[in-house]
């Protein structure tokens, strides 16, 4: 059984510069001299690294089997979105390697590329093209997309006049009709009213049941246990644990409880006279 997504030793370092102008290459001699002259005793930045770097991901290695739904969970700032961005080719890793054996589509945001002055119809084509669909594909699926979005006769009005609900429904309708082998989803389901969320979950169910591989980043542990077979727990850029969805969720719960009780203890200790 070969994996469809193979991640090996992915690490990502971000540099945080004290000045406004970021410089990715090593600073020039002139810049280094100026930096030394300005603050000869500059302290180390909080996240380690004397020149102000942050390791968002450190040596992340895992495999995803075809047809699997893998959940990625972790506290804020764990590096989940950075990992997804690397898998979606938006950011380059500092080191490591990813091998993809299937076509990938990423949903990092709903309504990417929507232009407020264009009509719903025009935006469907634009959004579809941006997400990688061919024009013929969009044309053949157009009626389904419009029906799914349920915006009725407003399909030909400029989307800046849409209510936020209509906007979301239309945006999601396009993404719901993507047809990749591997789908990467980043918490897009966090917004919208109850109706919308239900529609999204329904579509997610269809997608997973049809055998697509899905990588899902979410804060909703219920979603992980309900829809995912395996899960990954990230914290501080490292994989803390991985395994069956239920086991990882339980571990995460325990971890959070542990943190909460430690905080409570510290609070009690500091406020005691």
């Amino acid at each position: 059984m070969r994996p469809i997504v193979k991640v090996e030793g992915i690490s990502k370092r971000f540099r945080i510069q004290p000045r406004e102008a970021p410089s990715v290459r090593y600073p020039t001699l002139r810049e280094s001299l100026v930096k030394m002259a300005r603050s000869p005793f500059a302290r180390n930045r909080m996240n380690g690294g004397s020149d102000g770097t942050v390791w968002a991901l450190r040596d992340v290695t895992f495999e995803v089997m075809p047809g699997e739904v893998m959940g990625i969970i972790g506290p804020n700032g764990a590096g989940k979105s950075t990992l997804l961005k690397i898998l979606s080719r938006i950011i380059e890793p500092t080191s490591g390697r990813v091998e993809l054996y299937g076509r990938v589509a990423s949903l990092l945001e709903v309504g990417t590329g929507f232009h407020p002055d264009l009509s719903g119809r025009e935006n469907v084509f634009l959004n579809g093209a941006i997400l990688g669909m061919k024009r013929r594909e969009i044309e053949s699926k157009f009626d389904e997309i419009v029906a799914f979005a349920d915006v009725g006769k407003f399909i030909d009005t400029a989307v800046k006049h849409y209510s936020s609900g209509m906007y979301l429904r239309l945006a999601f309708a396009v993404t719901a009709h993507l047809d990749p082998e591997v789908l990467i989803v980043d918490e897009v389901l966090a917004v919208g009213d109850g109706n919308f969320q239900r529609k999204c979950l329904q579509k997610m169910d269809d997608v997973t049941r049809s055998g697509r591989t899905v990588l899902l980043v979410t804060h909703s542990l219920g979603m992980v246990t309900q829809h995912c077979q395996r899960a990954l727990l990230l914290d501080g850029g490292l994989i803390v644990t991985s395994g069956s969805a239920q086991a990882v969720v339980d571990y995460y719960d325990a971890m959070c409880d542990q943190m909460r009780s430690t905080e409570a203890d510290e609070l009690a200790a500091s406020s005691a006279p």
Binding site: I90, E92, S95, G102
Partner: protein
Amino acid sequence: MFATKTTNRSSLDRNNEQSDVLYDLPDKPLLTIEARKSWVPLNLRDLWACRELLYFLMWRDIKVRYKQTVLGAAWAVIQPLVTMIIFTYFFGKLAKVPTDGVPYPIFFYTGLLLWTFFSNGVSSGANSLIGNSNLITKVYFPRLIIPSAAIGAGLLDFAIASILLIGLLVYYGFPVTLGYLMLLPLVGLTTVLALGVGIWFSALNVKYRDVRYALPFLIQMWLFVSPIIYPLSLVPEEWRWAMWLNPVTGIVEAFRCALFGRPFLWAPLGYSFVFSLVMLAYGAYAFRRMERTFAELI
């Protein structure tokens, strides 16, 4: 190839009964992602595969430009027309700039037409990445498409404004010459030059926002060192070589020669040709090298 699955699997079954037979994975990965070394390939195949997106982005830029306007695409003619009238009065009549025996309006308009396309292309190209930052941080596609679409969208304005040129040629009675064969290639060459400069500046703009302020100034100065408002013959003989160093000079002069039935100056045109190609190659290469950090810097 991705084989279809049978439909009656429950999610519990899947864990236990997967087999290689149902999933036909390729032997080699479709895509490998890793940190790139310094030499970055241009990846023309990727670009070609995304040509529909290029078309869609151009279409979007064009549609949005004239939405909710009363005059719509007429603006593409009104602007150069009014500019021509004003310049004809001040430079043609009052300052009496000599124009090699051709009436000032049409002399100026031929230069203006090409120059407007080139300068608008470079400006919109240079700002295109910053303007599309929402796309760059959320979706992947070859980023070269963005400035290319911005410059390509200018071709439509060029086409509309050239209607007025045709009108002027008819009005002044210039005959169709063999030189007309060179018109499309010259427009193509201008596009190549605009692409080269625009792509390079668009990449620089992401890292150094100075470009946004320096570029309008640079373009304005470039206008004055090109024979648009005045003819090349105005420049004394011993300094003319400095004018030829500007690639736009070669193209504009050739454009005028083609329209007015004069003999071509092949050497300067050849120089412009080589310069434009080199600029495009360099601009694209520099872009690809800087591309890996766009999403982080933008």
